[in-house]
Amino acid sequence: MSDGTTPDLATVESPSAAAALADLRPGQAERRQARRENWRLIRRRPSFIVGNVIVWVWVVCALFGSKLAPYDPLNFRDKTHQPPSGEFWFGTDKTGRDVFSRVVAGARDVLKIAPLAAVLGVVFGVMLGLVMGYVGKRLDNVLSRIVEAFLSLPVILIALLAITTLGSSSWVVLGVVAVLFTPIVARTVRAAVLAERDLDYVTSARLRGESTPFIMFREILPNISGPIIVELTVRIGYAVFTVSTLSFLGAGPPPPSPDWGAQVSEGYAVLSGGIWWTTLFPALAIASLVIAVNLIADSVQSVLEAS
């Protein structure tokens, strides 16, 4: 074996554009900017900008929905099942409520629950994943088995089951989604921890007698922040996905509330009668929000993984 593993240009000769010179040793000033640079790169991506615009539109709707909507979203009127027109942009539903106002007001529920659920799920998942990955051995075997069992079931199904049992308040939905995301996040974090655990800085910490919690939270955790941030953004997208699916299935906030999923589920019964607007507009609202969140997640991911 000759002079070991010196990273020469050969190691970066693979034709990947962004990574080509990344491993070389650039000037210090350049390195110092790396983090700021990442953030700048993320901000400049078109998908990040588009995603943000859409998300912020919905956030504004969620915060000031009552002031923005032309009508009261809960107000019944005689003009039922009106098709979209200048008066009712998105038409009216079976009790004559304005669909546009209901779509605007419907942003609130999902934007209240989904991000919180994702954050909670990631916090639990990170803790579980750190324990599984670092402490390892028997404990990891047992926990992995349980995580695997959870993963083999569709999230929606267990959530539905849990919510029908526990009742469908916002808090229950939030808690259930968070708990169900925990094993998914834990699996990602565990893999990241396993890659760190055998690095020499961990050995060095053990050699100077650091405690296990110190090594997990102070030594390893900061180094896996990249995958955790990516996981968080991705999870927010899935939380929107899950929460709206649950409310569509009747496991969301109770009926009068103008939740998008619930609106779709009210609307599709009358679809065959040709009344498409009560279904289509809330459905598009859901689609726009999940796509927007995922666009943001995707741009964060591609920049963080390239660096």
Binding site: E13, S14, P15, S16, A17, S47, R145, I146, E148, A149, F150, S152, L153, P154, V155, I156, L157, I158, L160, L161, A162, T164, T165, L166, G237, F241, S244, T245, F248, L249, G250, G261, V264, S265, G267, Y268, L271, S272, G274, W276, W277, T279, L280, A283, L284, I286, A287, V290, I291, V293, N294, L295, D298
Partner: protein, 316 residues
Amino acid sequence: MSRFLLKRLFSAIVTLWLLATIVFAIVNVLPGNIGRKILGPFAPEAEVIAFNQRLGTDRPLLEQYLRSMRNIVTLDFGDSFLTGQRVLDQVLPALGRSGKIALLAFLITIPISVVAGIIAARRQDKLTDRAIVNVGLASSSIPEFVTAAVLVSVFCVHWQLGKAFANPPDGTSLVGQLRYLLAPAVAMAITYFGYLARMTRAGVITALHSDYARTATMKGLSRRQVMRRHILRNALAPTITVISVQIGYLFGGIIGVERVFNYPGLGSLMWNAAKARDVPLLQGAVLLVGIIYMLSTLIADLVIAALNPRIRLEQM
């Protein structure tokens, strides 16, 4: 090989046991009166007590748990609380109906998304690639029921191109059934397109940047030869894994799609059972989903082993 299968079988049994326990635990986490729930608030108290007695839902939880485990071990999942019918007689036909949609969805989505993924990888960072990646991102982020609802409102209602109700009448011919099943299958196919295309793309890109692809190019092979002989075999393993995992998740998405199309498949059945807290029916359905998931991941592992000699020779 047999050692590998034995290990998998053992872990499958443990996982199934955990699944059954999870379902039992969730349903019973709050004290509730099953009889009251099923018979409704206006049923006379005596009738509810009798009902609970008949089903055994008045027994201590531990006893109920052991009984449900015994039912599972004997592969007789017991009778539905709701209808009193044998669980298997309800679950299996529903699975068959859902299976038709799922199969159709995969037949549509696998070839399209694998080809799209390969094209995107070959045109990495070009316009085609960006388009495929972003369409894939959008398609996989939208919940299935939303896609289904949009499909129904636009194609079935507005343009009258398909049936808004998916359940074909009995005795419909195979081609006739397609007219009913196509819309829900497309709704699911759209969701899976995103995952599969992006995974295929990533796999192909990794393989394109590998040292062995470089060796192949330097040998003087053409791009097409490098792709066919060296890239695809190595690149498709992650895609196969994703497909197998998707088969499990499919039953999450299928609930929404079946609700939109009023289709009496496994998804609708699970929805009804969950609403009614019909424990035996739910356990039966959930375990079935679990078994399907495990079978599909097992098959995927075997296919990957067949493609990758290292896994085949060292782990089996």
